[in-house]
């Protein structure tokens, strides 16, 4: 029997584990892929208070080592089910715990086009700063209308010969200062009111099929497509026992869920701002509440 099982080893989950470990609780962290979550793709973190600049991998690794040194169990298995009685199941194991902290994060939203998975890493990418370097002098497209899409487009102008910014609406959710910057770049072309409806290529991506508002389709030659249309919460596992908001995020106030002893932290939680700082804030709040649930004092008091 664990005191707490944390699902997800991103910044939110690891912060929970850190606080719980320091309170001498018996903690298990379960992670399906790698520790660190999405922050490992961040080239530089420059908005974390007290740290001027740190690489995402270094941040994640420091946090991981901090947690590991406390004797927390960390197991790489995918959770397939949890129950209200606080049982957590993977393909090979079932564990029982007094509390559960859900910190499963989000995943890149897909366009759901035929070939999207096949071309992943063969022209399709969800991370411009990760894969942009491979498109030196080539023509690429960015799909989306938020800040990520605008930032990606700007980043790629310094690498690619031409960047098409394709958006299904005519207004952008992203900030004006990015749009202003984009308008000054000679090698970005903005295509609005247009959907990508098809992907072309054999071994790798060679082009897109676009459909505009009038229903007319046309072809666009590009070797890269950077998809930045948002994130989806990884919450389907919990929909039977917890409430979700309209977008599928776990409904919560102050990291509490409707099941006592089950808490939610980080990007998977319904909230205003999804940032490293708020993930870490959630993680510490969840640990604090879990420790109180167990009837003990919290670390640092």
């Amino acid at each position: 029997m664990y005191d707490a099982i944390v699902i997800g080893a991103g910044p939110a989950g690891l912060t929970s584990a850190l606080y719980l470990g320091r309170a001498n609780k018996k903690v298990l962290v379960l992670e399906a892929k790698n520790y660190g979550g999405q922050i490992i793709n961040a080239y530089n973190i420059e908005n974390y208070p007290g740290i001027k600049k740190i690489n995402g991998y270094d941040f994640a690794t420091n946090l991981y080592e901090q947690v590991e040194s406390l004797g927390v169990d960390i197991i790489y298995e995918e959770v397939i089910k949890i129950t209200k009685d606080k049982e957590v199941m993977t393909r090979n194991h079932t564990w029982k715990s007094k509390t559960i902290i859900i910190a499963t994060g989000t995943t890149n939203r897909k366009l759901n086009l035929e070939g999207e998975d096949r071309f992943l890493g063969k022209g399709i990418s969800y991370c411009a700063t990760c894969d942009g370097a491979f498109f030196k002098g080539k023509e690429v497209a960015v799909c989306g209308g938020g800040n990520t899409a605008l930032e990606d487009a700007l980043y790629l102008t310094n690498i690619a010969s031409k960047v098409y910014l394709i958006h299904r609406r005519d207004t952008f959710r992203g900030e004006d200062r990015y749009l202003e910057e984009i308008k000054d770049k000679h090698n970005i072309e903005i295509i609005v009111n247009t959907n990508i409806i098809g992907l072309e290529g054999e071994q790798s991506l060679k082009g897109l099929i676009l459909k505009d508002q009038s229903g007319k389709t046309h072809h666009l030659d590009v070797q890269g497509l950077f998809i930045a249309i948002g994130q989806d919460p990884q919450s389907t596992l919990f929909k039977d026992i917890l409430d979700m908001d309209a977008n599928g995020y776990v409904q919560s106030a102050d990291c509490l869920t409707k099941v006592s002893g089950i808490y939610v932290a980080g990007d998977v939680r319904s909230k205003e701002l999804r940032q490293l700082t708020t993930a870490i804030s959630d993680g510490s709040i969840c640990a604090n509440m879990a420790i109180k649930e167990m009837g003990d004092e919290v670390d640092g008091k």
Binding site: Y57, L120, K122, D131, F134
Partner: protein
């Protein structure tokens, strides 16, 4: 041990060894830095396979020859033939499975 290779010796590495796994990486790539200790571990556990790594920033010929467009990429060779490619960070278990097919 993981051999650091380059455009110059990649082909001889592939042809002079029966089974070869090449980790295509860059210093600035977080997921690559995460994969690298896994490759080190696998190299010490699997003596039959030759493990190599190649810095894609310094070896453009390899990047264009193998059409690498995302890292980390792992290239799996058996008897000189490319038999598998994986893109993105993989777990140790996933890579172990792929080594069985070599």
């Amino acid at each position: 041990m993981v051999n650091e290779i380059s455009d110059q010796n990649i082909e001889s590495m592939i042809h002079d060894n029966d089974e070869v796994v090449i980790d295509c990486y860059a210093e600035w790539c977080g997921p690559c830095r995460m994969l690298s200790p896994i490759i080190e571990e696998l190299a010490s556990e699997n003596k039959r396979v030759t493990f190599c790594k190649i810095n894609i920033d310094e070896n453009e010929e390899t990047v264009s020859k193998y059409e690498i467009m995302s890292i980390p990429t792992l290239l799996f060779f058996s008897h000189g033939k490319l038999i598998n490619i994986t893109i993105g960070l993989k777990s140790k278990e996933e890579i172990k499975e792929l080594l069985k097919a070599l």
